[in-house]
Symmetry: C2
Subunit: 386 residues, 2 copies
């Protein structure tokens, strides 16, 4: 097991009717900016619940934070924060609204001239404006971690940011929100959380037995509840396990003491930036070719995964590992998620070269758990994903 | 899954040489009381490491906090805290030193007249004097939770306390300390952590799939590493997994959203108070009769446990459940731990009646996950444990 530091100060309020407890969690006299996305919270009743819980507060609203939260839109929100002297941010939405709020938390207290530097220079944020979240879409885990991903359409870039100052003060996870989520977004959430776990688990063994068991436990749970929640999003038990799995998949716990990969995400982000493909689906596009291309260095963990998660008992290490990859692709497909780039766009030619070039320009000379996947390798992997 | 709140603000520093990072974690200008136990830290080099890391601080020392930390001794330490105007407590030891430090953290800021009330009235502590820990003995999980158990020899009582103000600010977990732990204490730690998990897991199903998988993962890990660490306490990989398992077993995570039992602990504490038997061994004494007596209400989870943790695949639910109990007893015995009271003391007669009467006097009318185990049931369970 590798050395690690662990500190996660986010308070989770999980379960039915927890939104009513918002009042207890926000500082008195806070001037709140309520941030949300497309407005679905006004249709599904969550907006009303939030407003009813916070009648005693001064609240300004800012809607329209879309999937892949856009830098230009967030800069408008930042102006509102400054003009209205906001002191507390409340994200009501999925990972995109929460990620956007994290950027704003950082930008509101940023001393530099250009907030874009937070992303471009990946400045670790030690202190942000306090914020809480009401999660409406389980998927990214952003509700209990300190990272975010922000997109800039102008330059077709999608960059990560974070730091110890960017944990939510609290996050409210009411699984009842799941009943208003469209099936394709539930599929995205399942695939996103599943891949988050794999990025922290399919690397190489370091004798971190607990971390492996926890990772496998989240994967087993997602596999168990996927058909139930895809069939009936009003199944509370399935929704609760779905929601808690997504949070545990990326709240930092299972990555402590082990190597992480994240190459699938790095390549996937480029596909979203270039083609607007849903984040989770970009992961499903890249995963098979990434694991196939890097088979030798990952086969031990792939075989363990196949055995413990998919009950593959027969075959050599290599055969089990291959079976693990196959079963993962089939799992994505069972969710209605297509796993090759050409199924999403006709103009896929040249994509591998573009992404490889971008990695080169950014100085990303070696990615993955060994830091050895070069831009040239990236080009080959993306090409295998067409 | 049941509703829950989760907040665990303890920072963990895990791994080799982490003691050297103490300096970064303690507030500048702190006046530190260093608390320890029998003095083994002066033999195994940990004391020197701690002192070397903190040369720039004013440190007062208080040793002699024994297993089952004793109220009278702690009251002496409290006097030192007041006389010396201590501002930060540093526990260097196992669960007993840490638990004693938690009591002191609470007592140092307690407004009432008699600090014993904290225990007798089980007052939830909202704010204590800040403290950190350097763990020298993996077992109780006290390093990452906000509970403690304090003993008063005078009245032969062992009572629990806690509250959200009693999380350590930080805990340093260096698995290298395990190489200086005697085998019988390692056995205790394994049995203690194992039973902590079972108290939160062997109840009744509530569709908390992740929590079950995590509980099973900790148990599987303890089973896997037990023979290795019992054979060779210098096996770093086994020690690291042992240490992290003990912490994860009782840091609150696996108990969120599920019922808890804790009846084994409540009965076990009495055996320690009456006979001075090691805490972990009292759990091993009570467990079999508790699960046998409450078989009907626990058999579903017992069967799941037997299947997933011990790979019992054949038989009815009842047969699997019985096998689960048997395998647990065998596991304790494999650690050299005796599992009946009469193996520890000849004067066991009347114990069941004494414990039953105490529960009655304290108003503990119904314990366990259903709150239905009466003092009369307790008498029968303890008698079955002779």
């Amino acid at each position: 097991m590798n050395n690690f530091d662990l500190l996660n100060p986010t308070k989770i309020l999980f379960g039915k009717n927890q939104i009513a407890n918002l009042l207890k969690e926000i500082p008195e006299n806070a001037k709140i900016l309520l941030l949300y996305g497309s407005g679905s919270i006004k249709k599904n009743g969550i907006y009303t619940q939030v407003k009813e819980a916070l009648t005693s507060y001064k609240i300004i609203e800012f809607g329209g934070i879309s999937a892949n939260p856009e830098y230009a839109v967030l800069m408008d929100a930042l102006q509102v924060i400054k003009n209205e002297k906001i002191t507390f941010l409340l994200a009501v939405g999925g990972g995109s609204v929460i990620d956007g709020t994290k950027f704003l938390s950082a930008a509101a207290l940023f001393k530099g001239e250009n907030p874009w530097d937070i992303l471009a220079k990946n400045i670790a944020i030690q202190k942000g404006m306090p914020f809480g979240t009401v999660l409406t879409l389980p998927a990214t885990g952003s509700e209990m971690n300190s990272g975010a991903v922000i997109t800039r359409k102008e330059t077709k870039e999608k960059l990560v940011m974070g730091g110890p100052g960017l944990f939510p003060i609290f996050s409210i996870l009411d699984p009842e929100v799941v009943k208003s989520i469209p099936q394709h977004q539930i599929a995205n959430g399942l695939a996103d959380a599943f891949t988050h776990v794999l990025e922290q688990y399919i690397t190489y063994p370091v004798n971190a037995l607990i971390q492996d068991r926890f990772a496998e436990g989240i994967l087993q749970t997602l596999i168990e509840i996927a058909p139930k929640i895809m069939k009936n999003n009003a199944d509370y038990n399935a929704a609760a396990n779905f929601m808690w799995s997504c949070t545990m998949a990326l709240n930092g716990l299972i990555q402590k003491g082990v190597p992480s990969d994240w190459a699938i995400h790095m390549m996937g982000h480029e596909l979203t930036a270039l083609f607007g493909i849903d984040h989770a689906r970009t992961l499903a596009i890249i995963l098979e070719s990434h694991y196939t291309y890097n088979f030798e260095s990952k086969k031990e963990k792939l075989a363990q995964y196949a055995t413990r998660v998919w009950n593959v008992t027969k075959g050599t290490t290599e055969e089990k590992a291959l079976d693990g990859i196959k079963k993962t692709v089939q799992f994505f497909q069972s969710l209605g998620i297509k796993t090759t780039l050409s199924e999403y766009t006709d103009s896929y030619k040249g994509t591998a070269e573009i992404i490889s070039k971008r990695f080169e320009e950014r100085g990303w000379k070696g990615i993955g758990e060994h830091g050895k996947i070069t831009p040239n390798d990236v080009e080959k992997i993306v090409k295998m994903s067409y």
